[in-house]
Subunit: 310 residues, 2 copies
């Protein structure tokens, strides 16, 4: 029951030494979601041995080149590998036009369906839901329309305590009802409360992707309590004015948002190429929010399954 984020690239605007461009893969119970797709994303996916064929959803934050120029190559590489099953792409208005004209001019027709969904960059809204998870989009504050994404697992069914089946002689056809929260009436007419029959439920896990954005507290309600928050931290706070001007955040501001949203862990990223030593950014954010880590190219950040306290 995996829930882990792999960071493909952490560089802002241009690749910098070992820092590649924007791209992250979230593995939720073996379902892969790609966030952004900077140039070279297909190389990174290959190098990190991530299965392209398992990516069924791509969430694009905005249409700046460092977040989308790898998309064309990724889509054609997926086709080369024989993909036939559909791919969903969520993005602000315009991406479908870009992909359409690019493919049209190379006389390229995708052998698998690509379903574009235009994300409303003015209002928060759910954009995807299946049995396992729900994805919400919410506005970010950038120079062009931009959207953040929050992925939350759906509630897990309760696990029945195996010994209780024997103890109360529970028939097979009652098991599902108990898993879904019902109490159990024994053949002797004794009512056993559900909480005595099941383990405390597993906690659904969650991840929020906020890149690129200026400091904006309006983000907070959309990401409150997530286990993992990726929030861009392009600059040190001494460059706060420049950050605001360019629609970016400082490491301190990323920490402030994490603190306000009471998240589990903050992951930094989208670093300006002016910073060789990222510890400066880390230390600055940590003053605002202790459980901060650096996003590092190729690193994976997991959330373990835990049960709610009984």
């Amino acid at each position: 029951m995996t829930f882990e984020l792999t960071i493909l690239g952490t560089s802002a605007a241009v690749p910098y030494h070992d820092r590649w461009l924007a791209g992250q893969v979230l593995n939720v119970q073996n379902k892969l979601i790609l966030f952004d797709c900077g140039e070279g994303t297909q190389f990174r996916i290959k190098a990190l041995k991530i299965k392209k064929s398992k990516i069924d959803i791509i969430c694009i934050s905005h249409l700046h080149g460092d977040h989308i120029f790898g998309l064309f190559g990724l889509l054609t590489s997926m086709a080369m590998e024989g993909r036939k099953h559909p791919l969903s792409i969520f993005a602000p208005k315009g991406l479908e036009d870009i992909v359409d004209i690019t493919f049209k001019n190379s006389a390229y027709i995708s052998p698998f369906p690509i379903e574009f969904t235009e994300v409303d960059t003015e209002n928060a809204a759910p954009v995807f839901e299946d049995k396992t998870l729900i994805i919400n989009a919410f506005p970010l504050s950038h120079r062009i329309p931009a959207t953040g994404y929050c992925v939350r697992e759906k509630p897990f069914p309760a696990n029945i305590i195996p010994e209780k089946i024997q103890e109360f002689d529970i028939p097979f056809d009652k098991i599902n009802a108990i898993k879904n929260g019902e109490n159990y009436l024994t053949t002797e007419g004794v009512l056993i409360p559900n909480s005595e029959l099941t383990y405390p439920p597993l906690k659904p896990r969650s991840y929020a992707y906020c890149s690129d954005t200026a400091y904006d507290e309006r983000i907070v309600p959309h990401i409150t309590g997530v286990d993992l928050l990726y929030h861009e931290s392009t600059f040190m706070h001494e460059m706060a004015a420049h950050a605001a001007l360019t629609g970016h955040s400082t490491a301190k501001q990323a920490g402030q948002i994490a603190h306000l949203a009471q998240v589990g862990q903050l992951i930094l990223g989208h670093y300006s190429s002016r910073y060789d030593n990222l510890d400066w950014l880390l230390n600055e954010a940590k003053i605002e929010f202790k459980n901060t880590v650096l996003g590092i190219d190729g690193n994976t950040y997991s959330v373990d399954l835990q049960r709610f306290n009984a």
Copy 2:
């Protein structure tokens, strides 16, 4: 007086292990010309320490993704580095539309002029000329309109033999005329033929880029006698039918074209990912044309300056 080709990538369609996508930089007397621009070209240019700012011309062969998907990132990276001077891009119809819509949707305006020239893919024609070189485009045979390019240095002015200036007491204002081929009349009325006053002239060097294309002898007159010929060799000849079907060449066919065109050296490339051992392709081509070498990612192929025989 450099004339050297650096190969950025040799893989067809998708990146393969250490083989990157299409891209080559020709350095002609310190003027850089980029041929094709597959995804990752900006990374390769950086890794190979090629100066982006010196690339003033980009020649695109056709609009298949593996030859153009790196262009957007290269153009924006050039801008990030402060480029202000113009860039010329030669390409078949459609590329300007793709770049325009991509930049428009990211609200991106290039801070340096990008001058697109639509290349006629039906008829050969010169596309560029300056003091140093001339570039001709000529049709290739591919699945979509495609063009090859041939770069030839212009004739060099002759070099005067220094001792002759003294010997015949040649005044300074006659030097240029002699360099341009004139004879010299001494004050005693003796006519000294130009060939006695100058070294044999330097040979202009030349390079032709043929990718992607099926075997097509109509290419030959446009590349005859070039010092370096890059001709794609996607497949072994046992796959000749598949090569023809997909608009590609076999290594044997690349060798045949090199032989017919009496070139100096043939460089192979654009290898299918089915070939781990490229020596098979090399050996096949060498049977047709002895002076064949493998194009290898990151390698440089030079042409030395030589004089015509006296």
